[in-house]
Amino acid sequence: MSAMLEIVRLSKHFPVRNGFGRQTGEVRAVDDVSFSIEKGKVYGLAGESGSGKSTIARMIMGLTRPTSGDILLDGRNITGDTGTRAYGRKVQMVFQNPGSSLNPRRTVGQSIAVPLDAHGHPRSDRTRRIVELLEMVQLPAEFASRYPHELSGGQKQRVAIARALAVVPQLIVLDEPTSALDVSVQAKVMDLLVDLGRQLELTFLFISHDLSLMRNFAQQVGVLYLGKIVETGPTATVFENPQHDYTRLLLASVPVISAEEAAMRPVIPLIDGEIPTAEQLLALRNAGGPDSQRIEQ
């Protein structure tokens, strides 16, 4: 097995400037992150807002330039040439909100045609290919002439997936692809992604804050906290036996619907009768106070 995507010591620092434009510090949005995804596998990046998960996606897509570190795609270093067309063919992205990632003034067919035209797909074959792509995401051919506002959220996200598949990519970055959808629609979209991944031998980078979803979709998982990966490993191992306090807090916070799941969640010590914040919990742990025993349990 070889790695489809390899992220090596990737960092992105944003300068903080004062009112006069002088740099007064920096925010380490992504700080020395390394991981790799094997061909045909799903790697999950879990994290909350401010964890840097979206910045990592943007760097892989070439929308943001890394401060340091390398991104290797299929063994080739692409850190320098992101945004070029040969590269765009191999990596595609499905955005979080299908409502805003599809242009409201363009029909579904026109949206799907964008990558086809950009990568020199013959014009004579365009209509056939659009229908074929819609079929792949289980949408009828007549959807090509519809506008996004005539579609439901799930249908829009299927169109976004069809668009990402248009130029036969090898890696697809999924940035919270179902967080804007209802749970029953989410299940169907995830079904579709699993099927497509299997049929087309796709590799997925799955970015989400929904740990239950991640447990069922990703084989490997990395937990991001303040720009760093604090814990990584096979999903089952990380979820059943979390080592880092932040992972434990995240797992403990998931609202669940069964007793088995509830039993699986780690027990987090309360501070003044309240669930602690991540900072509080980590500070408590570092201080090695009497409560740290309870965290061990």
Partner: protein, 295 residues
């Protein structure tokens, strides 16, 4: 989840065009404005066939019929050389509408392109274009037209050029602000990651989203351009006699106020009518598209 109330209603069966038409038809301002505009355009196009005295457009002199007050034969009365004012007003609309067409036809493509470039690329492109815009905005169009007329010759073409040379700035500003908002939208980023060209992103992704604001702005602008054009003619910088022009007619008729009031007041009403039509249409469209204040 405010959207659920909307999705509960069955909008899918209604076509886009029908929904827009429905909202448009419930908006009296827009309907009246559109009616006035369509009526004016039709009248201007069909002028030779619908006016009672099409020959009065030229240098016809009929002193026996001069200064006649409005009547069944001469609806708007006659002027100091006995020509039918109604006929000349209808023909005058042609000049006003032509002026609007030429000025906006030049200003919009230039203004929109510059606005898109400044908003999307930012950096020095933005600095150069927007500072240029600021400078141009500081010059009143009328003053510019006076200056051009003084240097070149006082005719319609030069006046149009002078107004167009400044008018694009408004469109640049409008499109610039919309583009800046849209630049960070996911669908623009998605197009970038899909490998779309800059041309495609500017004109196929961003521009269609500016159309509603542009339509509102353009219809309001038509009214303004017609007023500016009339002012120029009034000052003798527009079209030269004997070709009928609303501004010129107001100016020449004003010499006979108040006795022969119709000679200046009725052409003035025609200017008011057309400008009002475009403004009502613009306001109506704004309600329809629900765009923010564009001026």
């Amino acid at each position: 989840m405010a959207s659920e109330t909307v999705s509960a209603a069955p909008p899918r069966r209604l076509s886009n065009a029908y929904q827009n038409w429905y909202r448009f038809s419930r908006n009296p301002t827009a309907v009246i404005g559109a009616a006035i505009v369509i009526l004016s355009i039709l009248a201007a196009i069909l002028a030779p066939w619908i006016t009672p005295h099409p020959d009065h457009v030229g240098a016809v002199v009929n002193f026996r019929a001069r200064h006649l007050s409005p009547s069944a034969e001469y609806w708007f009365g006659t002027d100091n050389v006995g020509r039918d004012i109604f006929t000349r007003v209808i023909f005058g609309l042609r000049i006003s509408l032509l002026l609007a067409l030429v000025v906006l036809g030049t200003a919009i493509p230039i203004g929109v392109t510059l606005g898109l470039l400044a908003g999307y690329f930012g950096g020095w492109v933005e600095i150069v274009i927007m500072r240029l815009t600021d400078v141009a905005l500081a010059i009143p169009p009328l003053v510019m037209a006076l200056a051009v007329a003084a240097v070149l010759s006082p005719d319609l073409i030069n006046s149009m050029l002078a107004i167009a040379a400044l008018w694009w700035t408004w469109h640049t500003r409008l499109i610039y602000s919309i583009t800046r908002q849209l630049r960070t939208q996911e669908f623009v980023e998605a197009a970038e990651t899909l490998g779309a060209s800059k041309f495609h992103i500017l004109f196929r992704e961003i521009l269609p989203n500016c159309v509603s604001a542009l339509a509102v702005k353009t219809s309001l602008d038509c009214g303004f351009v017609i007023l500016v054009g009339a002012s120029l003619s009034f000052l003798g910088l527009g079209i030269q006699p004997p070709t009928p022009d609303l501004g010129t007619m107001v100016a020449s008729g004003s010499a006979f106020l108040p006795d022969y009031w119709w000679e200046s007041v009725l052409p003035g009403c025609a200017i008011l009518f057309v400008a009002l039509g475009f403004n009502l249409l613009g306001d109506g469209l704004r309600d329809l598209f629900d765009v923010q204040e564009v001026r």
